[in-house]
Symmetry: C2
Subunit: 381 residues, 2 copies
């Protein structure tokens, strides 16, 4: 069957659920006594266990970063363009670990899981998580897989925040940190968009203060609007113009016709909202956007990023994209400046792309070449 | 009583409702047999009736552009900074007319008015309006006031679209056209934001397909989210950062505290959404955003703006603001380029301001001086 898959793909992959029973104390002070993480791996762990790469996902991502789940799977994992044999994260060289984060809705323990203490879904009572909680749970995952040190921790957007936090929390366990289209903290405008998305969800009467599962319902329309807001911010004004312009899907501007005119971009965006709201959990969306908002790399380092990064002992690769207005190039330049002040080795690629924040998922020669070159330079003995 | 008001204000003003009973055929092909417009005027019409200025409002504006409605009114009209004795639109010189547009919710006939044919509120059945319909109804208003020709038609944002349409629909009736922070048509991203706002309203279960008044209810939370979306796009990333940064309103980031952290910007934005949703009509919001989306100055002129502007016989003043990302400076430059191609006289001010789209309502020396100078140059015999 594998010949059905492209030769540069990791082919058929099977997620596995790993259960952890050592209690995990969270930044909020609460403890998860046991939890499950859904994980995929690609490539082989070498004998010295020195070739492992951790992939950290962004807001709406999951463990399925590369390959296919079945022979007739139409779409590969979300970062298939950059993970596979011969690709930037070369699975001929690296053992790649990808997980669905705690609090997620793709098989890892989260708000829609059953709270063992009550026998009902956690819902709104699921603990508030911060990026550092994910990093700690990922360290447990590394322990379980026998990985003492990651060759690299890699992430885009919210995933890049996890990669940076790894470099500070476990300096001895990361040799390379790859931070793509990310930031050391969100701007007020970013928080404002996230809060508007949360309000769309929370004001949906089917939300029931987060306990919609107990009410056998679901805040579908609120989550759909939330995704529409997010989706606009992932794309550049330019690419929306190129892709849709002012093309009509239905209706006409002809005078005397009492038609409802519908633009292509409206229909596209509603479709994005609808399909997302069918696959994603509303409480997880709230939890993930809050983790994004709360993240502030240098908060406990006197708000001095260069002081924070002095804790790190790894090398860094940073990339940003010219039309990304959600995580603009200035945010990446701030990371690079702080790393230089902290006397860390850093390679920086500022990539021209018309595709906005989404560019980190899309094909691009400059991005692919600089990312591949950096990963190729990582030694794994 | 008037000494209670600032000397450079128009003081106490009283709106008046004007009724029109000559049927108005709309671009959609339907006809309004009679309608009401809520109007305010400031200054005195001169004997030759050559000093009248029309103010066209933006998305959420109304007729109350300047002055105060009562002695204890805390807030003046929405453009009080630029309309008054000695101000850019100098009421010692001009007779200023400001109205609530058809379809509005501040006293002019709109979706919340009673449809005389049914005896119930129009609701969703109110005709879809385009910018040209407003211009046509404003021409009737000019007729009623005995104004054959406006010294100037002035507007910002959606108001600027009306000013441009005036110059093409009634070239003999406009001597000067003032277009501030506007565009000849919206981009796909603009439409996307508007559609997301509409979806927030329309998916509110209290919307009842637009007939909420007949159901004695109101889509308050949907309209609130819609306004939050809009509000973010009126402000620049920079000014949100300056105003709110990452300041907390409540909660703490201290570890071990299971607090809900709330940023100032979240609370501000929710407040904006809440207060707006108490004063504005949801159907009007949908109608106005659709008029914005549908506007395309040159559509019936072979999509050639310079061909369109050749119809105009007035002079133009155009202004834009450096951090306005809703109506960026490029949109105003396109207007200026088209006017030059059409061999029209145009003055253009590209104003440095940190305040985004909202800048057109706010104090700014360069803006005030160039706007004032242009208006001062208008002859009124």
């Amino acid at each position: 069957m594998t010949q059905a898959f492209p030769a540069d793909s990791v082919g058929l992959v099977t997620p596995q659920a790993l259960t952890f029973s050592e209690p995990l104390t969270l930044a909020c002070g609460r403890t998860l006594n046991n939890y499950q993480l859904m994980v995929e791996t690609y490539g082989e762990l070498n004998a010295s266990k020195s070739n492992a790469v951790l992939i950290c996902h962004a807001l709406s991502g999951d463990h399925h970063a590369a390959g296919y789940h079945s022979a007739d799977d139409r779409k590969p994992g979300w970062w298939n363009g950059y993970i596979g044999p011969g690709k930037a994260i070369d699975t001929n060289k690296f053992f790649v670990v990808s997980l669905n984060n705690l609090g997620g809705c793709s098989g890892s323990t989260g708000p829609s899981s059953i709270n063992p203490d009550t026998g009902t879904p956690w819902g709104a009572d699921f603990p508030k998580l911060r990026v550092r909680d994910w990093v700690h749970s990922q360290a447990r995952l590394a322990d379980a897989l026998g990985i003492g040190q990651w060759a690299a921790v890699v992430g885009g957007s919210l995933g890049g925040m996890q990669a940076m936090r790894w470099a500070l929390e476990y300096p001895d366990r990361v040799r390379h940190c790859v931070v793509i289209a990310s930031a050391m903290k969100l701007s007020a405008q970013n928080i404002a968009f996230n809060e508007t998305a949360r309000q769309a969800i929370m004001s949906d009467p089917h939300f029931h203060a987060g306990d919609y599962l107990s009410h056998n319902t679901y805040p579908k329309s609120g989550l759909s609007v939330a995704r529409m807001i997010g989706h606009i911010t992932y794309l550049s004004d330019h690419v929306m113009g190129e892709k849709f312009g002012r093309e009509l899907r239905s209706g006409s501007f002809e005078q005397g016709l009492d038609d409802l005119v519908e633009f292509q971009v409206e229909s596209y965006l509603r479709y994005q909202g609808d399909t997302f709201s069918e696959r994603f959990d509303a409480n997880t969306y709230i939890l993930m956007t809050r983790a994004l908002d709360y993240f502030d790399l240098a908060r406990e380092y006197d708000d001095a990023p260069s002081v924070a990064f002095r804790r790190a002992s790894c090398d860094f690769f940073v990339a940003s994209f010219s039309t990304d207005w959600r995580f603009p190039v200035e945010r990446s330049r701030e990371i690079v400046d702080a790393l230089i002040s902290a006397q860390k080795n850093v390679s920086y690629a500022e990539v021209d792309s018309p595709y906005g924040h989404d560019a980190f998922l899309l094909p691009n020669d400059h991005y692919r070449e600089s990312f591949s070159r950096y990963m190729a330079g990582i030694t794994t003995e």
